[in-house]
């Protein structure tokens, strides 16, 4: 595929659509994870989840950076974006069941297994700026899955823990399927090679992996077809659950309260900076 500034309209739309779902998923999942900071079941769990949230924010930034190459800035992409324009899957916006650590762990497992497969597919992206970032991101993702799997194994050892995991799977599985919903640009994404593997193939792979692992822990996983299970709000199509608006209001609250019109910067803009170091 050609350089960014020479992309055809169709190619550009495909790259943008893929980047927006990647970036929005990471940003919103991190936003939710931070709710567990200082509330995890152990000090180590607190630190781990805070660290995972930081990783996901770092990855969101890498993908949003690439969208900036199309002329958007941080204000357009986050702070003043119409909440209906976000394309994250509904799995990542749902609030956690009150105090239910199993919800956080199951969600992380379902999400990170999906991310692992998605990034693997993007290693071969024809859009080089994406392919060039995948290695770095994957290198930081590995322990997310290990963290979730370790906790699932631990929780599944007791009856109460296993019931909580089961409850979370029952609630979250349909929303996890929205991670694999097609955007309006899926066809272009695949045949321009932005992501050579169709999202439906990734879903089949994902279902095999998560169903096998969870069954091994004595947890039942839905077997119905995706169409039967999927919720109405699927995120990728711009339709979100009713909680999205309040989450959006929460993370943009300070920006609005301070009357900002641009993203604050730690240092003066280059033209205002004194170059004498």
């Amino acid at each position: 595929m050609v350089a960014t500034e020479e992309l055809s309209d169709r190619e550009r739309a495909a790259v943008e659509a893929e980047l927006r779902t990647l970036a929005d998923d990471e940003f919103v999942v991190a936003e939710r994870y931070t709710e567990w900071q200082v509330r995890g079941p152990t000090l180590e769990a607190d630190i781990a989840i805070a660290n995972i949230a930081q990783d996901e924010l770092g990855h969101a930034r890498l993908w949003y950076d690439l969208l900036e190459a199309f002329g958007y800035d941080q204000v357009d992409l986050i702070w003043e974006r119409d909440p209906d324009d976000f394309r994250h899957a509904t799995l990542v916006e749902l609030p956690f069941e009150d105090g239910d650590w199993a919800d956080c762990v199951v969600r992380g497992y379902l999400y990170d297994t999906h991310e692992h497969l998605r990034l693997q597919a993007l290693e071969d992206s024809a859009y080089v700026p994406i392919a060039d970032r995948v290695g770095k991101v994957r290198g930081e993702e590995h322990y997310h899955r290990e963290h979730a799997q370790n906790w699932l194994e631990r929780l599944a050892e007791s009856r109460e823990g296993r019931e909580r995991v089961q409850g979370a799977v029952d609630r979250l599985f349909p929303h996890a399927l929205t991670l694999f919903e097609r955007t309006d640009h899926e066809e272009a994404i695949v045949d321009t090679g932005v992501r050579p593997e169709p999202i439906a193939d990734l879903r089949a792979e994902w279902r095999d992996i998560v169903s096998g692992f969870l069954a091994g822990l004595g947890v039942e996983v839905p077997v119905e077809s995706a169409e039967e299970l999927l919720p109405e709000a699927r995120g990728r199509n711009g339709i979100h659950t009713e909680v999205w608006r309040s989450l959006y209001d929460e993370f943009t609250f300070t920006y609005r309260q301070l009357g900002r019109s641009e993203a604050p910067s730690l240092m003066p803009a280059p033209e205002e900076a004194d170059v004498d170091v």
Binding site: G135, K136, L266, V275, V277
Partner: protein, 144 residues
């Protein structure tokens, strides 16, 4: 006859706690020609490299050049372009560090303006740290 002595347990710690796998930093491979350190540079480029050497990592007393973050430098018509990476995508000092590097490059004699381009490939790893950098890190108490 007495019973044969019991075989000593081959691993007295078996079943005990295990080390946390994440205190073990994988080394990785050094990428060809990286990091760029300015060795052999002349003229304005050499002046920029001297300035870049003075920029320290915000968390450790080591130059960003010796840490291996700088991947390339070109100077054309008074404009310096620095290509660099970061050790971690979630680095909270990203803007700060990038701006430090930009200002340092712009302050070199013969340079009027500078830009910094962040890249993520090849991925940084500890093999990118120069020998001087490793010595600085050891003195600081980091085992490399």
């Amino acid at each position: 006859m007495s019973e044969p002595p019991e075989q000593p347990d081959p691993d007295p710690f078996e079943g005990g706690p295990e080390y946390c796998a994440y205190t073990d930093y994988e080394a990785g491979d050094a990428a060809d020609g990286l990091p760029a350190t300015g060795e052999g540079a002349t003229g304005v480029e050499a002046a920029v490299w001297r300035r870049l050497h003075e920029v320290e990592d915000p968390e450790m007393p080591i130059s960003v050049v010796d840490l291996g973050l700088i991947y390339g430098l070109t100077v054309e018509g008074g404009h310096a372009t620095v290509t660099m990476t970061l050790t971690y995508t979630g680095c909270p000092a990203r803007d700060y560090l990038q701006e430090d590097v930009r200002r340092a490059a712009a302050a070199a004699e013969g340079v009027e303006t500078a830009t910094v381009e962040l890249v993520w490939s090849p991925e940084w790893n500890v093999e990118m740290v120069t020998d001087d950098g490793k010595a600085d890190l050891r003195e600081f108490g980091v085992s490399v």
